[in-house]
């Protein structure tokens, strides 16, 4: 080894790159079939990442795959494999992924250095679900790549066989859990990338056909899960974990680049858009998607892009492991999302479902402007909340977390779980209530309203009306509020302890003009009952549905109790799955793809026209 060996695929790439990035760029916008457009996008992405200078495995992989700056790439890889301070779960899957994709181009010295990393570096497993997926994917593939090696040859003192078995067990268990009771770090616009990339890498390189198929199925599941709540690159609905920058600017989240690659939306190349910079957290994980042999099933593509009819989509997820102060280890999370061609309104039921970065509800709308979202929250923080999920001392956890997630204790933060927040959504209307205890650290609620709305009107009826292009929103605050002007948004703030809002969303296709929308909404006014022991709202939507919601009590729709316990794992026109079944049925109305995680099988068929 040591010599460059260029594969046929590499030669084809080099020819394509020789055509120049401009022509590849234009190719990415063209093409007739979804397959050819995908092919153009993936080549375009490889070309773009190959121009990066930041140190990272993806930069190395892109440069080597495209033949650009090969010596530079090899020097970078040498640095990555020589830096003793590096290690851990992300390193674990990125290093082996780079090795397996490009070993034919790597000199022996670097091949040995990568191997040595798994002997001498500590690969910290981490304490979150995405950490473990990354760690065990890396360990599985490394143990598979170097089988039959003794314990002394591995960082953890376990043999290849032991590491392989442990990784296989955990990955299989995680896949089954995700497909039966739901993901813990579910629907995260940020961490989606840390789940999908290992699964695609596992699909590409697992030699065991069962594991390979399960990785493919899990990649399908993750992408279908995203697709059902996807709108023009935006990951809509409630999220387990999201960063404030991504919450107020949804297209800046790493998931959006996966949407661009697989769904072809948004149409813009995000890295060219300064309004979405700086992004990708130095990652470019999507590169592995571009280099992968994994192909998005057509049915998922259509789930992601067919917004011809509005629909309700519900899901059950699970809370990550509660290790103390809870009655149940993984309580269910109930998601409700209403998707239309122009907007999505989505919510979680509220309460503490994830520490630190929960995003409970929002409206996200199709827009060519950034900050295309409206939502409210209670900026809750407490050491006890963190101690529910982390084993360190609760008196220090808040400060500790603030070191990584610098806004955790900030009264102005845009992500939060709160025990004092609950929601009740029906289609395009939502009631959000806040019953804040006096001892809460922050006693106000905030709302995000982008400054770039075309209209925002504080109506004398008590409603706040907003228009962004053809999308309309009406917000009824239950208590007095103030507006605070900020750089990109108006911060709506209300300081009553028993508080909340009612919101309706619409669009020109549904409601005609903005004026007619306002007229329809104004006809109904939310009725609030608030006392020491009660916080109840009655509201009749503009569509005539009666909603009654008591904080900590019942959700009544047209007099009938909404029972979350009846929720399926997935329930909507595109995805169906009974909780616990492990069978996920994906359909676009014409074609069906069934993922059976208990049998590790994939079946596809067409629906009859009858």
């Amino acid at each position: 080894m040591g010599e460059v060996s260029t594969s046929m695929a590499g030669r084809v790439l080099l020819v394509l790159i020789a055509l120049g990035s401009v022509s590849i760029h234009s190719m990415a916008q063209m093409g007739s079939s979804p397959e050819s457009r995908f092919e153009q996008r993936r080549l375009r992405l490889m070309d773009v990442v190959s121009q990066e200078r930041d140190r990272g495995f993806f930069t190395v992989a892109a440069k080597l795959a495209t033949g650009r700056d090969k010596e530079f790439a090899l020097a970078m890889l040498d640095s990555l494999t020589s830096d003793e301070s590096m290690g851990g779960m992300f390193y674990s899957y990125m290093a082996i992924g780079t090795y397996l994709r490009l070993k034919d181009q790597l000199p022996d010295t670097l091949l040995h250095k990568i191997r040595r990393a798994y002997r001498e570096r500590t690969m910290y497993r981490g304490d979150t679900e995405n950490h473990w997926v990354a760690y065990y994917t890396g360990l599985y593939l490394a143990a598979q790549t170097w089988p039959n090696e003794e314990r002394s040859q591995w960082f953890n003192g376990k043999s290849s066989a032991e590491n392989f078995k442990e990784s296989e067990e955990w990955l299989s268990r995680w896949m089954t859990t995700t497909a039966t009771i739901g993901q813990g770090e579910f629907d995260s616009p940020t961490y989606f990338t840390v789940f999908i990339t290992p699964m695609i890498t596992l699909f590409d390189f697992a030699k065991d056909p069962v594991m390979k198929r399960k990785a493919q199925m899990t990649a399908d599941l993750l992408l279908a899960d995203f697709a059902a709540e996807h709108l023009d690159g935006n990951y809509c609905g409630g999220h387990s974990r999201d960063y404030p920058e991504d919450i107020i600017n949804p297209l800046s989240a790493p998931a959006a680049l996966w949407a661009w690659l697989y769904f072809g939306e948004p149409k813009v190349e995000l890295w060219q858009e300064s309004r979405y910079r700086p992004r990708y957290r130095g990652g470019w994980e999507t590169l592995f998607g571009a280099m992968s042999s994994y192909r998005l099933p057509d049915v998922i593509y259509r789930i992601a892009t067919d917004r011809s009819k509005a629909y309700v989509h519900t899901e059950t997820k699970r809370v990550r492991n509660i290790i103390r102060f809870g009655r149940e280890k993984n309580p269910p999370v109930y998601k409700y999302t209403y998707m239309t061609h122009d907007y999505a309104l989505g919510s979680l039921q509220g309460g503490i479902l994830q520490p630190i970065q929960q995003h409970t509800w929002d409206v996200t709308y199709r827009s060519d402007k950034p900050n295309n979202t409206i939502f409210t929250l209670h900026p809750f923080y407490s050491g006890k909340e963190l101690a529910m999920f982390f084993p360190e001392e609760q008196k220090f956890l808040a400060d500790d977390v603030d070191r990584y997630h610098i806004v955790y204790t900030d009264p102005r933060k845009w992500n939060s779980s709160s025990p004092y927040e609950q929601t009740f959504q029906h289609k395009n209307a939502i009631i959000v209530l806040y019953d804040i205890y006096p001892e809460a650290n922050h006693k106000h609620i905030d709302g995000f309203f982008p400054k770039n709305l075309d209209e925002r009107i504080d109506d004398s009826s008590g409603w706040i009306f907003c228009r962004a292009g053809s999308v309309y929103a009406a917000v009824f605050p239950l208590r007095p509020y103030e507006w605070i002007e900020e750089k990109i948004n108006w911060r709506w703030r209300s300081a009553d302890l028993k508080n909340g809002i009612v919101l309706e969303v619409g669009c020109s296709d549904e409601d005609g003009t903005f004026e007619s929308f306002k007229k329809n909404v104004i006809q109904s006014k939310p009725a609030l009952n608030s006392s020491k022991d009660d916080l109840t709202v009655n509201y009749k939507t503009r569509r005539g549905d009666a909603m009654k919601f008591t904080f900590g009590g019942k959700r009544l729709l047209n007099g009938k109790t909404v029972d979350f316990r009846a929720y399926k794992l997935f329930n909507g026109p595109f995805i169906q799955s009974e909780r616990g079944s492990g069978v996920i049925t994906l359909t676009d109305g014409n074609n069906v793809r069934m993922l059976n995680f208990k049998k590790a099988t994939i079946k596809e068929w067409q629906l009859s026209k009858n």
Partner: protein
């Protein structure tokens, strides 16, 4: 009258008395002098540093050690950056056997740190503390947020042993020094006791939440102290049946660390959230703060050098290790600045 025999006997008695006196002098003077010059080793587990970022390039964390007579460099042993919570050093093997309780699981060396093995799999994680039976080094217990686990074969296999424990979040475990079948563990709903090597547990008389640490009197196995989050320090003199709250002199409520002076059990030290170090010289009946020189009052670990009781170590959250050479009267930084020092142990070798 005293006959010769008797005289001899008298002389013999005098000689015997002299021998006893010399022996006593040896006990009082010579042995401590020997101990003073005897080497000991301090081990600490560093959970994190101010610069630590999960998954990124990081400065070293994990287990560090150095000779107590050496003020210079801490040496690292074992896996790096795996979020080490606890450490157990097997004294009879003179540190050949060491176990680390860490985020990744339980790691073990049997050759003094030359090689390490992660003995646990995916089922055991976030290990908070570990104890090794001094007489049977294959018997090891560890605590996790998911309960107590034990191995009878040195870590080759582990079994969950939580029968009787209601709140599985366990943060420390103690093996009775006089009977290794008896164990105590601290949980979120009090202190539990097992009399059958962890096969079953019963909650003791201490039922407050957030018990963080349990320690045992070095000679009287029925006397134990428990430090809690928010509820102060408790003591029992009957193996856990009844507990009393220690009040005199304690102005704080959260204690993560309590330690006996192994050479004088009347002396104890305690520390916790913004407490600095408390010292008791009357077996825990009263306490005084001794913080001269301590620049960080958040104490998570304490240890007394068994070879020199005046040498006391305090592990802080974010300011590394502090050391006192005068029984806590004054403190000086002993390195690892910026670290969260979760556990300290000093070994007599």
């Amino acid at each position: 009258m005293i006959d010769q025999y008797e005289t001899f006997g008298h002389h013999r008695n005098v000689a015997r008395s002299l021998l006893i006196l010399i022996s006593l002098l040896a006990v009082v003077v010579i042995i401590p002098a020997t101990l003073l010059s005897q080497e000991s080793t301090v081990y600490v587990s560093v959970l994190s540093t101010k610069l630590f970022v999960v998954g990124a390039a990081n400065p070293e964390t994990g287990v560090f050690y150095k000779k107590t007579t050496d003020d210079t460099v801490w040496q690292h042993t074992g896996p790096k950056n795996i979020r080490d919570f606890g450490i157990a050093v097997h004294t009879p093997s003179r540190g050949q056997l060491i176990c680390i309780a860490a985020g990744n699981g339980l790691h073990k060396t049997t050759d003094g740190g030359k090689t390490w093995k992660m003995t646990t799999g995916w089922q055991i994680t976030e290990v908070s503390s570990v104890v090794i039976d001094k007489d049977d080094p294959h018997l090891i217990f560890c605590t996790t947020p998911y309960g107590v686990f034990k191995t009878l074969d040195g870590g080759a296999t582990w079994v969950e042993c939580n029968n009787g424990i209601k709140q599985l979040f366990t943060s420390s475990i103690l093996m009775d020094h006089s009977n290794s079948s008896t164990l105590y563990c601290s949980t979120e709903d009090g202190v539990y006791r097992s009399e059958d090597r962890g096969n079953s547990w019963k909650r003791t008389g201490l039922t407050v939440g957030g018990v963080r640490v349990v320690v045992q009197h070095p000679k009287d196995s029925n006397t134990l102290f428990a430090g809690t989050d928010n509820n102060g320090i408790y003591v029992t003199h009957n193996g856990g049946k009844y507990w009393e709250k220690c009040a005199a002199g304690l102005d704080h409520s959260t204690f993560y660390a309590i330690v006996f002076d192994p050479n004088n059990p009347q002396i104890l030290y305690a520390g916790g959230y913004v407490t600095g170090v408390y010292k008791s010289t009357d077996g825990g009946q009263s306490w005084k703060r001794i913080n001269d020189g301590l620049t960080n009052l958040n104490i998570h670990s304490l240890a007394v050098d068994p070879t020199n009781s005046n040498r006391v170590y305090a592990g802080t959250l974010w300011s590394g290790v502090f050391r006192s050479l005068d029984g806590g009267a004054s403190w000086h930084s002993a390195g690892l600045t910026g670290s969260q020092v979760w556990t300290i142990t000093v070994q007599p070798f």
